[in-house]
Symmetry: C2
Subunit: 494 residues, 2 copies
């Protein structure tokens, strides 16, 4: 892949003078159209050899285009905050929103290549990371992002010549650092790795563009034209995807509804047992969450359940044992404008706790395969791929030390009716019951099916679901506390 970018592409001054103003105008217009369309975003991941001109090209693009709709983000060494979270977290939090163009300098490929060249990761981990990156790139493009990966290249001689030229001119001498020469000495060693990584990570949805960097005019025009094409593509995508795909994907397991129906909802815990168990397990949870070794972990609790199943009350019994500085509760409602302008998982990535922290999600990323599926807020294609995306997301969390505990709270249809009516009668509880709740109740069967599919497809060994019989609140709360305590104790024992 690299050879074709080592042959000395050039563009003459005259051609450049003719082409540049046309390209600028087209890029500007494309930017406005993209912004109005609300499609995209377009993300440029800029990689390549040192001194190849990545930075200069990024500067040129921001000079050409309207700075309100384009943003360059350069990544340096990881901060403490970033080190305490999964590797991809720092990229997720600054993803450009729809309608915009983003340029990432020194993003995930640079980190990967540098780590391998320096011997920090071996071949097996290189493969694992490449797969993980591939999964993320697939998801981002599925969510509408247009991803351009540029490798700005120089041949070995060219790189040497460029470094010498910069150094010999007193006006540009400062641009050459010791790191640049260090990178140069590793050129031959690195070349094979570059080839391999580029080859293996060039996919249909996110191909690499290798651009020779030696001639500034060639480099800028080439990147600019590819960008223009990509923005035009992004604009032309129809904003309104079909409500249903031609062939709805079949659920994997036919008749798995037993999962829920077989729950023994008559399970009860007497008041006396509850009164002694509650402080007992709260005490255990308090100790475990203050344990030395918890500093290497984080705790992520997911509460999902039928309306009126008692999620809020259960959450409060958990937080009652926790230090307020250590946890946050995140109630998930309809996404905000900003959240809708980002890929689906973005708003959950933002809330990923640092090691030593606890995040409690009152409803969660499972909304996509529950309410969004049942209410047809997204197409079957979208919620079908969500299972994989979610498993992938949770794997990243667990790999980084998170303990992910997920609860589904189930009550019977009769119990729900009883609670709805009770809520309507108690003045300070009426806020908990809305027309939505009655509407959802009518779709009981469809929700049941969605829940069973969800548990079936996302109850993994690393992040299993716990189904909670919740007709009796005391039973439910103690089961939840016990489960958290057991999972924590097991994780901290290792």
């Amino acid at each position: 892949m690299l050879e074709s970018a080592e042959i000395g592409h050039k563009i003459s001054k005259a051609v450049y003078a003719r082409e540049e103003p046309k390209l600028r105008e087209a890029l500007l217009n494309a930017q406005y159209d993209l912004s109005r369309s609300g499609n995209g975003p377009v993300l440029l991941v800029m990689s390549g050899v040192e001194s190849g001109g990545r930075g200069e090209t990024a500067n040129k693009l921001t000079e050409w285009m309207d700075p309100r709709f384009i943003r360059v983000i350069a990544f340096g060494p990881r901060t403490q905050e970033e080190l305490a979270r999964p590797p991809m977290w720092r990229y997720w939090r600054v993803l450009p929103p729809r309608g915009r163009v983003g340029i990432f300098m020194n993003a995930w490929y640079n980190e990967l290549l540098t780590s391998h060249v320096q011997g920090a990761i071996d071949d097996a981990r290189l493969v694992t990371y490449m797969q993980a990156i591939g999964g993320t790139e697939q998801m981002l493009t599925d969510e509408g992002m247009v991803l351009l990966k540029f490798w700005i290249h120089l041949s070995k001689q060219e790189q040497k010549a460029r470094l010498h030229a910069l150094e010999s001119d007193p006006r540009t001498k400062w641009q050459v650092t010791r790191d640049d020469w260090r990178a140069f000495r590793l050129y031959s060693k690195s070349h094979q790795l570059w080839e391999r990584v580029l080859r293996e990570t060039s996919t249909g949805v996110a191909p690499w563009y290798v651009v020779e960097g030696a001639d500034e005019r060639y480099r800028n025009l080439t990147v600019g034209k590819i960008l223009l094409g990509a923005i035009s593509n992004a604009i032309s995508v129809k904003a309104t995807a079909p409500k249903r795909s031609p062939t709805p994907p079949a659920p994997s397991v036919i008749d798995n509804i037993k999962l829920i129906r077989d729950l023994d909802l008559t399970k009860k815990l007497p008041e006396k047992a509850y009164e002694s168990n509650l402080p007992k397990y709260q005490g255990k949870l308090a100790k475990l969450s203050r344990h030395n070794r918890f500093a290497d972990h984080s705790l992520i609790l997911v509460f999902e359940g039928v309306d009126a199943a008692g999620k809020g009350g259960a959450v409060r019994r958990v937080t009652g044992a926790l230090d307020a500085r250590q946890y946050v509760t995140v109630p998930i409602a309809a996404p905000t404008e900003e959240e809708r302008a980002h890929p689906y998982l973005w708003r959950f990535w933002r809330q990923v706790p640092a090691r030593g922290g606890i995040t409690i999600f009152d409803r969660s990323w499972y909304g996509r395969v529950l309410v969004e599926r049942v209410e047809e807020l997204c197409t079957p294609n979208v919620w079908m791929r969500a299972y994989e995306e979610i498993n992938d997301f949770e794997e990243r969390l667990v790999q980084n030390g998170a303990i992910v505990v997920k609860f589904w709270l189930q009550i019977s249809k009769a119990e729900q009716l009883r609670r709805f009516k009770a809520r309507e009668k108690t003045s300070f509880k009426t806020f908990k019951i809305t027309p939505d709740d009655w509407r959802n109740r009518k779709k009981w069967d469809a929700y049941e099916e969605a829940v069973c599919d969800m548990v079936d497809r996302t109850s993994t060994e690393i992040a299993p679901w716990t189904l909670v019989e919740a007709d009796d609140k005391r039973h439910a709360r103690i089961k939840i506390l016990k489960t958290i305590v057991n999972r924590l104790a097991r994780a901290l024992k290792r």
Copy 2:
């Protein structure tokens, strides 16, 4: 102030059972009304003695109220990221937006008191900090926030009794930590300080409420009722303030317009001098920004100027010398929905660089005293108090090591017309000229007056304005680079 909270306030079970449901309902309704009004926010700063029941009360409030509109934030030890920025930064970034209720646990008063008790700050600094807090609280309430400061108190005997009671019950033993007893031993020493700080920081806009914490029912009902009153007050504030206050404040300096008019806009730099000066000063800037001692500083550049004065081009000549990982450029346009829901300075606080970082503001917080003043987007009261708020903001930045360099780029009316017309003719520059520009041009004199007032009132010793004669772009760019280099060199010499 504290004695009245050491006398054993109590509420009977019967009274509580009668009062609680009424209060809950009223709080919920008030929450919805507040949310709809878009007023507020209401912020509770919860302080007090250890084990006084602050946490329990916060939990009770979130249990009573709709969790979607209330958020508790507990502050722990400062992270690396927080330590690298001014002390108030971590509070600014999580301020609740309008329409919401926020509860801050262990916020600025706790930090202040703990630091003083531990001897980390002396009396003089205590006074300085209290003044700084007072300034911030004044600004927040000026911007519509309703600020409630609670001190949950216990007498010395009560605290001791409470700790013993918790410890002797195996179910609550875990709640008492070594820190709690340590705090208890410092009770007598701390009491005087609490009195003093509460007295000196209780202001008309943000008074303290001292609440006895021993009786849970009394504590919860009291805090709940005060909160209810505060939300009701917040709702009743008229959303639309009068466009003009009855007596517009007079500008401090009459006829200071000379400041701008006296600039020698004919200043020119020949091309040859420019070609040698540009790399020279870029080189110096590059070296200084990579200097060891810069790690203790940050650089904040503010670019303001007449339309078409060449801000963008000047910014690019500066960033050309910088490492992309070290700086961010922040173009300031009309505020987003989220930004409008926060105090004016919030969106700038968010962008404050960590030490070692550089932030370049292309337009800035001076919008309030320029465009917002001239276009009457805010009342004279608001922009008049902005001068003080801005000076205060910049002082915080400088105290934390920031070097704040502010440029006003001035061109003549004739030069502006020439540039507007040229832009309209160049296809890729037409995006830079909008109907707004022509409209602003008609208000040339009003802007001139606003600029002179601004420079007059906010050119301080720690953050002076540099007026840049910008009819000649070469002169302007070199003057800007030189100024930055000199300010940096001076700061790093110390």
